[in-house]
């Protein structure tokens, strides 16, 4: 088990290094000239030669690329995420202020996806091809197709139109103002949660259908155990393992999906900050945010792998 954990962690560290290089290549090298990315090709031509040189020097862009990369990594390691090109707030402060909201949305959405997805999977796996199963399957296919941010916009419009309700526009911390906080996160969490629930229901259904055919489930039935108990005690725990892994993969969907969804709900979270960074072409903020999002994604998947190893002796002992 320990060697597995160690291997996974070393591998994770390598992945983070690889991710940082990939981010650097995309954000700094691909645009050719980062100033073009910031000012747009039109704005760039309006800059004089001295202005360009001055900006390049201020931003540390005239150093060789490998030095720029090392400087960036050193800054991040020191917790210095730099400042927005357009705003005075440092990126670290912005993450501390906005991050919790997005984290709450992500957690609540995972909770919702399980609470909705698993019962649905059980119902449809126990009676395959029944009416309920068909309805559930169609709904999950539908939810796979609907863009979350569109549902978000419709919800905001509907609430406003029929109930004259609008979620608060300013941030509210969980422990300072729980009610306003809940009002902020519930919409995005439901939208993102239902999107994941569709995948979870689909995966849970097929995984449960497979497990139910196993010998040990037949044995449990043969010894006279009540049908529900067989499912709850014997079938479900094993059927849920792939679903846990899927939940980790789906975190990518949640982290990325929260960007347009937060825009649709005007939620003042980190996703919204990312939207602002993108629309202002704030390369430096974007670079750090992309890196942070990806590191979080990598870490979550390491956690998932470790918990799967903990839950499944077959992996632990390999």
């Amino acid at each position: 088990m320990y060697s597995y954990i160690a291997r996974r962690l070393v591998f994770g560290a390598l992945t983070v290094i690889g991710v940082s290089i990939t981010v650097f290549v995309i954000m700094r090298i691909l645009p050719g000239d980062p100033l073009v990315a910031v000012f747009g090709s039109e704005g760039f031509t309006k800059l004089t030669e001295e202005q360009r040189a001055g900006l390049m020097k201020d931003l540390g862009l005239s150093d060789p690329l490998w030095l720029q990369y090392l400087n960036w990594v050193r800054d991040i390691a020191a917790g210095n995420f730099g400042k927005s090109f357009f705003r005075s707030e440092s990126v670290a402060d912005m993450i501390l202020r906005r991050g919790p909201l997005t984290a709450e949305i992500a957690l609540l959405s995972v909770l919702i996806s399980w609470v909705v997805g698993i019962p649905v999977a059980i119902v449809s796996a126990l009676r395959p091809n029944s009416v309920a199963d068909s309805v559930v399957r169609f709904l999950s296919i539908l939810f796979l197709a609907v863009p979350g941010f569109w549902i978000g916009m419709l919800i905001v419009l509907g609430l406003l139109f029929w109930f004259g309700y609008r979620a608060p526009m300013t941030g509210a911390a969980l422990f300072v103002d729980p009610k306003a906080n809940l009002e902020l996160i519930i919409g995005p969490a439901i939208v993102l949660g239902l999107g994941q629930a569709a995948y979870i229901a689909r995966m849970g259904r097929s995984s449960l259908l497979e497990v139910v055919r196993e010998d040990y489930v037949r044995t449990a039935r043969a010894k006279g155990l009540n049908g529900r108990l067989v499912i709850a005690w014997h079938a479900l725990p094993n059927a849920l393992l792939p679903v846990i892994t899927l939940s980790g993969v789906l975190m990518g969907l949640v982290l990325a999906g929260s960007i347009p969804v937060e825009r649709a709900f005007a939620t003042p979270g980190l996703g919204f900050a990312m939207f602002i960074a993108v629309s202002e072409r704030d390369v430096f903020v974007m670079q750090n945010l992309v890196f942070i999002y990806s590191v979080v994604f990598v870490l979550i998947n390491i956690l998932i792998d470790l918990s799967i190893a903990f839950l499944d002796p077959r992996i632990r002992l390999r």
Binding site: I21, M27, L253, P260, Y293
Partner: protein
Amino acid sequence: MTVITPTVAPSRLRAFFSGARTLVRRAPLSAFWGVIAALIVGTAILAPAVAPYGPLKSDFRAMQKPPSEKHWFGTDQIGRDTLSRVIYGSQTSLTVAMGAVLFGTTVGALWGLACGYFGGRFDMFSQRIIEFLQSFPDLILAMAIAMALGGGLPTVIAAIAITRIPFGGRVIRSVVLSLKEMQYVEAARGIGASHARMMFRHILPQCVAPFLILATTHLGVAIVIEASLGFLGVGIPPPTPTWGNMLSDALNSGLVPPWWLVFFPGAAITITVLSFNLLGDGIRDLLDPRLRGSV
């Protein structure tokens, strides 16, 4: 005076029709959605003939009007017809999605072919790169690339295509790995076939089915990513209508966007993605039932 009948075309046509017939018989639902998908693609191609107005033509006497007989889907803030914009939007959305999926899956598939065939250090190195690419959530990677390269049709296609490469690479690599052990491949090697001949003549044809399945199942994802990019302002820039930037425009129009500007573009995305997904499911079941649920 002999009439030379073209033999290739009719047989291909017949193969297409027999395939379509099998699809209708075995998966009527998929066939139905296949027809819808064909209609959507047809509308996109024939947009100038189908759309009642031009996508950029504003009617200043009908600004931000709800759906009416003249404008079925209403008009936007500067009096452009929403129906026409949704129809023209399908052109951009489908071009981007199909271009990205075709390009990304092809590059991925060729890469996967090389990885699976040569193995060794090249494969190790490639797998690491693919893992790094997969450590990014799709949309975030696409956003970063689209932002770095600047907006526009080719860059958006490239940005989405890059997010599709790992999938093609992984799937085709595993197919090739199992094909490599087949006896006919061994036999080809035995009679001294070159690497290129082995790869393209003997192995590649077997990868066509998984490739088609991958491509169709990823079309829907590509459409959603394209719409999200448009919505976040890094997709195709306005005034060219795309479903994503129409939704973005609606939100920019004021605190409370009119419902028809929100409803119709989103419904177009949903129906298109739904039809491609269900058609993809049907094609997958038809071509290779073993892959059910795996790709």
